[in-house]
Symmetry: C2
Subunit: 198 residues, 2 copies
């Protein structure tokens, strides 16, 4: 049997509210009311509104890093690795667009200390993508001019989903992730050797 603690109910409520209205525009009253509590009860479980944000953001960052690391380790074929990484990263952002929006858009609302803490995860995500590209280039399968820039651009496709994606819209998470994965492969694949013009 799964027990949902008051603390978890508050976190779920915060995710909803922050994703819907943004951190600054969300009131603690709103969070409390979504969790079925009085405003005062919030502070029994969390120190402040920002600490709620940090909890959500940290969980989100952890999850996103886990997704990309798992994808990176799933195969050694450079092309399929890029395809899987981009698919899973974009898919995660669509499937968890509310948390993703908080992770990506409310980064600046964190205290400097908390921002520093989640920045470690962000760098690690970028690094994993860069490594996958570097490895594919070394194996002669990929062709990438600017590895850090391209890695960032591949991640951007997924990140930008959270700006607008809503479940039940005209495009499914799978459809968008597949689109991104296909585009990603075209961006980095070495052109197949063709007969040069005589």
């Amino acid at each position: 049997m799964t027990t949902i603690t008051a603390r978890e109910r508050l976190i779920n409520a915060a995710v909803e509210a922050f994703a819907e209205k943004g951190f600054a525009a969300t009131t603690t009253r709103d969070i409390a009311s979504r969790a079925g509590m009085s405003p005062a009860a919030v502070y029994v479980h969390h120190d402040s509104k920002e600490s709620l944000l940090f909890t959500v953001s940290l969980q989100g960052h952890r999850h996103a890093l886990e997704i990309i690391n798992t994808a990176a380790a799933s195969t050694t074929d450079p092309v399929e690795r890029i395809r899987t990484m981009v698919y899973d990263f974009s898919r995660w952002h669509a499937d968890h667009s509310r948390v993703g929006r908080i992770v990506q858009w409310e980064y600046h609302a964190l205290t400097p200390e908390h921002r520093t803490e989640v920045a470690v995860f962000r760098r690690s995500i970028e690094r994993t993508m860069q490594d996958a590209l570097t490895d594919g280039v070394a194996q002669g399968v990929l062709d990438v001019d600017d590895v850090p820039g391209t890695a960032f651009s591949l991640l951007s496709l997924g990140v930008d989903l959270v700006r607008w994606f809503e479940p039940g819209g005209s495009r499914s998470a799978h459809e968008l992730a597949s689109l991104h994965a296909g585009l990603a492969v075209r961006m980095v694949l070495r052109a197949s050797p063709s007969r040069p013009p005589a």
Copy 2:
């Protein structure tokens, strides 16, 4: 001689403040003080904080649409057209990252009426990119499975710049726009016909 009106000074101040802290976290006192005025003076020139946002957002949307339309009309070669459109759109978002951030991130802070008004520009931008892809496919030069999805993804690269780009950072606006333009062409270019495997 160029005269800067108080109204314009307020708009500039609002751009700075909204881009730095977000609409909800910006106070009218902050805007007034950046413009060198008292809080009361704001309301002589603008009806409300939201109307300031709308003014900034509308100008930004207009400008972005103009950029992409001009790029689309600059050449008839489908590949160079895509390259130019993506370059100019990404370049604009880097060069105007503050306005771009307001355009892209504060869309939901507009009143429903104002949101409807700027949505026209957003659809027009997407449409222009879709048309460029459709034309390139029709000419047999581009190969695009999902025209609306790909158009959106090409624009996403530029849009996502405003999330983090700061002038004076490690990468210039030109460098990033060139990167995006190069990736864009690879995403949509029809593979050169190569000898099929015997």
